[in-house]
């Protein structure tokens, strides 16, 4: 086996591998990595070949800073043959060596990975639970391999009622793989962020996201309207077997139209029709934490009847030589500059 940097020609090979790996997700897709690269992240795409066949690897993200060096981040990664623990361990060992070399080159004191797996294999060794996750966990996952009646049946009674109510009230849902709806989406997203005192990304972020992921069918913007007025909007990502509700916003003035229900109902059906098996509602607050900042969103998400899923979360491997160097550089930095 050997580990090597992937080139553009490996695009399809890599995406096929990442898409069918259960432990992976859209953040390991080639398109997402290009999007993040355009956003300013440094990206390295590593492939592990066994007898000429690509069997594992990772897309590693890094943001260059000098104050604090960002982790070598592998959200939804690495992509390993998790079902073959022996091989997965060998691949992980190769990857660790490569990451250590990257850490030495970049000065990053930590590699952070977060595969979408539920049990921690022993070969992860001394990796420590990270202080913060790359991907929300736990999350709610709705199974999609059902007909409409089946999907409705898995929702809570209130969820079902609201989906139907939105239909009766005439809520219409449009979707686009281009930037047609990005402006409308961002209006609602921004409103929602202000309402909840969250800091939201600027519209340019979404424009670029749709440009990078839309044409390949990996992302769509959804807009639910009531009598022509935007009432709810979302950006959903489709990759591998999962659709993901990545961003959303609602109008506080049209809440009683239940437009968000109609919108998610449409996303779920679109994802199912694309052959996807799961809809990831992208994070849920613990049910026993009613004051959690995401508690209200979570109560809403729960109405779609998903199953609570908790992955192993982000794991860190520390590179102590680099951590020591970072600390030493901070210790050496005196107060300079003059008035």
């Amino acid at each position: 086996m050997k580990i090597t940097s992937l080139k553009k020609e490996h695009f399809k090979l890599w995406n096929d591998l990442a898409a069918c790996s259960e432990g992976s997700g859209f953040m390991q897709s080639w398109e997402w990595s290009e999007f993040k690269e355009a956003e300013g992240a440094k990206v390295e795409r590593l492939g592990i070949f066994d007898g000429g066949k690509l069997i594992a690897g990772a897309i590693v993200y890094r943001v260059e800073t000098t104050l604090g060096v960002s982790p070598l981040a592998m959200p939804h990664g690495p992509v390993l043959p998790w079902n073959d623990p022996g091989k997965a361990e060998a691949c992980f060992s190769l990857l660790k060596e490569k990451l250590a070399a990257m850490a030495e080159r970049t000065g990053s004191p930590v590699a952070r990975f977060e595969p979408f797996i539920f049990g921690r294999p022993a070969f992860l060794g001394a990796a420590l639970r990270a202080p913060v996750d790359l991907v929300p966990t736990p999350t709610l996952m709705v199974e999609l391999d059902k007909d409409d009646a089946g999907l409705l049946a898995t929702m809570t009674q209130k969820g079902r009622y609201n989906v139907r109510l939105a239909g009766r009230r005439g809520v219409e849902v449009a979707s686009s793989a281009s930037n047609d709806l990005t402006g409308d989406f961002h209006e609602l997203f921004d409103l929602t962020c202000s309402r909840h005192a969250f800091h939201g990304e600027p519209v340019g972020f979404f424009t670029r996201l749709m440009e990078a992921l839309g044409p390949a069918g990996l992302a769509r913007t959804y807009l639910a309207s009531y009598q022509g007025m935007p009432a709810a909007a979302a950006v959903a990502v489709f990759f591998g077997g999962r659709a993901t509700y990545l961003y959303g916003g609602t109008s506080p003035f049209l809440r009683n139209t239940m437009a968000s229900y109609a919108m998610h109902w449409r996303i779920m059906r679109d994802a199912r029709d694309k052959g996807l098996k799961l809809y990831d509602l992208y994070g849920i607050a613990p049910s026993d934490k009613p004051r959690h900042p995401y508690a209200k969103f979570s109560a809403f998400k729960a109405r779609f009847g998903g199953t609570l899923v908790k992955t192993i979360g982000a794991q860190d491997i520390y590179f102590y030589p680099q951590l020591a160097k970072t600390l030493v550089s901070r210790l050496s930095a005196g107060v300079k500059g003059a008035a």
């Binding site: 300013g40 800073t65 960002s70 790359l134 969250f198 102590y320 030493v328």
Partner: protein, 676 residues
């Protein structure tokens, strides 16, 4: 098409312009901002160079800063803004505010990227203004790096001036002072400015920050001599006031600041949620360079580090990381790099190694220098974590959220049905709530009672709190007594091995003493044993953790919560041990009463016999009939009392409430209750 959402909102008496929801100017007070940005640089350049000036405006596509330059007779100006949407609005909607500055014949407008423009052109300018939007992504932050400032400096004529819009020195002090350091490192001698702009303040942006800088040091006398004729807001007094910055912002920001070499450096600082200062406090006068230098030299590094206002869970998570990291390996690496360090820092690392065992015991005060290196390491880890902007949930501020709400389960020990600890219920100064099954808290019951064997009179009455639940119906009190709820009635049973005393929650004297239930006692003892073990385990974990984390309690609410929880668990453990010992002292009286199978149990020690007779089982196992509906019975009669009457009624009512439609027992209970 603009990549940004541009929006003009009508406001009473004016218009306000927003980019991506962020206020750029409000026509009612835009003069405060644009005069402060443009006029000092213009006036100083005019005073220094004494010739018609050539100016460069980077950003500022609304044309308002440009207007100030043109109004005061610059010879020529170039404006570079990458957003064609903003430029179009400047020529149309804003022309009433900017006087058509973009179409002035002295002006050349470039629609493009400022960095590319600087790299691809070569003329010199007498002054340059940078008027960019708030840096909230890597592209925006790239306009605040050392390389950007160096390329601006390269385009300034000798003695030329550079003025720039920065960030709030109060809300983002580390970012603001990083811009200061970065300007200085690009050999642009900076003077910081602070402005109160009413529309910015009303949007919660805080006081705003700018810099006036030059490749040639700006002398105090030069600043003092500046005059701003014809300005609507900027007076000499207002300018002098803008040179006064809050000392609190400097103290909080400067130790965390650094030179912005990469855009990510600034993004990392912006992403950190920082202290929002109330606006008061001492001011440092930056018009006096000697005093300012003295102040900046006096700002310590790690010694006075203040934590950015990260959420409490962040502090908690970083502490956890420090707790589990491999210190031996790390210290060895630190010492390998020690040769690079100045003497004092090297000494501090040696102190850290020497004092680590002490630190781990929690014996080192928080002013110790070894601890300060430790705190600096935490800061490094904050930066490492904040440097990656895509952390889950890290995109949002946790507005007003206090500690304890964590989406991650980082616990020292697992919480399960056998160990209810690690819950906010136990993390206050006192345990005032009882945690029921499924994690439901409810207020702890206060009780006053005379315990078995207690002396007569008021001195024998205990005041107690049922603060730890063994189950939803059994509790251990602070004073180490076992209590049972009698269903949902207002009665309690105080359990001892030799008797179960019936208490009215409102009265201290027992109403009756029942024969004890040995099975219930055994079950309670088993539960206590499990909880004592869980408490031991929790205390063991906490003692290791708090041994070194306790000094951080000063700035970490999580550590304070941990410290409280450890104290409270120790107290609960004491109560459990006392209760367990009490239950093991003494035994149930010999001659355990045989309860006929057909008797219907109403509560501990109370039975309904033949659907009519209420039988109590006394402390020594004797049966008594309570004359509830009938005068006599098969056993010696208890004296009628108001307390017992109410108790039996409460039991029957509760039983009645548990029956269903068609249940034959309903008629029995209702017949008994008739007339009560």
């Amino acid at each position: 098409m603009s990549r940004h959402r541009l929006e003009v909102r009508e406001v009473p008496g004016g218009r306000a312009f927003y980019i991506d929801g962020s206020l750029q100017f409000d026509s009612r007070d835009e003069a405060v901002y644009h005069e402060a940005l443009a006029l000092p640089a213009l006036a100083l350049a005019a005073a220094r160079l004494k010739r018609p000036l050539e100016a460069l405006v980077l950003g500022g596509g609304d044309g308002l800063a440009l207007k100030r330059l043109l109004d005061r007779g610059v010879k020529r100006a170039e404006l570079v803004d990458y957003d064609p949407g903003v430029l179009a609005m400047a020529r149309d909607e804003f022309s009433g505010f900017n006087g058509g500055s973009l179409d002035d014949e002295r002006v050349k407008v470039h629609a493009g990227d400022a960095i590319k423009y600087l790299a691809g052109s070569s003329g010199l300018f007498d002054l340059a203004l940078a008027d960019f939007t708030f840096p909230e992504d890597l592209a925006g932050c790239s306009l605040f790096t050392r390389s950007f400032f160096t390329s601006v400096r390269a385009r300034l004529a000798s003695g030329g001036l550079f003025a720039m819009n920065a960030v709030s020195p109060d809300r983002f002090p580390a970012a603001f002072w990083s811009v200061y350091r970065t300007l200085a490192s690009a050999r642009l001698y900076p003077r910081p400015l602070r402005l109160s702009i009413p529309s910015f303040t009303s949007h919660g942006y805080g006081d705003w920050g700018m810099f006036l800088a030059s490749p040639r040091p700006i002398k105090d006398a030069e600043l003092e001599a500046l005059r701003f004729g014809g300005a609507s807001w900027l007076t000499v007094k207002a300018f002098r006031e803008s040179l006064r910055l809050r000392v609190s912002g400097i103290e909080h920001g400067l130790p965390l600041s650094g030179i912005i070499k990469k855009p990510g450096d600034l993004l990392c600082l912006i992403n950190m949620q920082e202290h929002s200062f109330s606006g008061g406090g001492a001011l440092a006068d930056f018009s006096d360079s000697a005093a300012a230098r003295g102040l900046l030299a006096g700002i310590p590094g790690a010694e006075k580090l203040r934590w950015p206002q990260l959420s409490a869970e962040w502090e908690w998570r970083l502490m956890e990381t420090l707790r589990v990291m491999d210190w031996e390996l790390f210290l060895a690496e630190l010492e390998k790099n020690a040769a690079l360090l100045p003497g004092k820092a090297l000494e501090e690392i040696r102190l850290l190694r020497k004092n680590l065992p002490e630190l781990l015991k929690g014996a080192v005060p928080d002013t110790d220098r070894a601890w300060q290196v430790f705190a600096l390491l935490m800061t490094v880890l904050v930066f490492v974590n904040m440097a990656y902007p895509d952390n889950a949930f890290a995109k949002g501020y946790y507005g007003g959220s206090s500690g304890g709400d964590s989406e991650l389960d980082i616990t020292f020990f697992m919480q399960n049905e056998r160990s209810p600890f690690h819950d906010p219920v136990f993390q206050g100064g006192e345990v005032m709530q009882t945690l029921l099954s499924a994690g439901r808290p409810r207020p702890a019951q206060f009780v006053r009672y005379r315990a078995p064997g207690a002396p007569a009179g008021p001195a024998g009455i205990k005041e107690d709190r049922l603060y730890f639940a063994l189950s939803d119906d059994s509790f251990v009190s602070k004073q180490g007594e076992l209590f049972y709820n009698v269903g949902k009635t207002p009665y309690l049973v105080n359990a001892r091995a030799d008797r179960f005393a019936l208490l009215d929650k409102l009265l201290p004297e027992p109403l009756f003493e029942f024969y004890p239930d040995p099975a219930a006692v055994q079950a309670a003892l088993g539960g206590m044993e499990q909880h004592i073990k869980a408490a031991d385990k929790a205390l063991d974990s906490y003692s290791k953790w708090l041994a070194w984390a306790r000094p951080a309690a000063v700035f970490s609410s999580e550590v304070r919560a941990n410290s409280n929880e450890a104290k409270n668990i120790a107290e609960i453990r004491g109560s459990l041990i006392t209760a367990s010992q009490r239950l093991q002292q003494g035994a149930a009286p010999a001659g355990r009463p045989e309860i006929p199978a057909e008797w219907l149990k109403l509560g501990a020690g109370v039975y309904l016999v033949d659907d009519i007779e209420i039988v109590f089982v006394g402390r020594d196992g004797t049966f008594f009939t309570y004359p509830y509906q009938q005068a006599g019975g098969r056993y010696p009669a208890l004296g009628k009392s108001f307390g017992l009457e109410m108790f039996v009624t409460a039991l029957l009512r509760e039983k009645d409430a548990q029956t269903y439609e068609g249940d034959p027992r309903r008629a029995v209970y209702q017949a008994l209750l008739a007339g009560k």
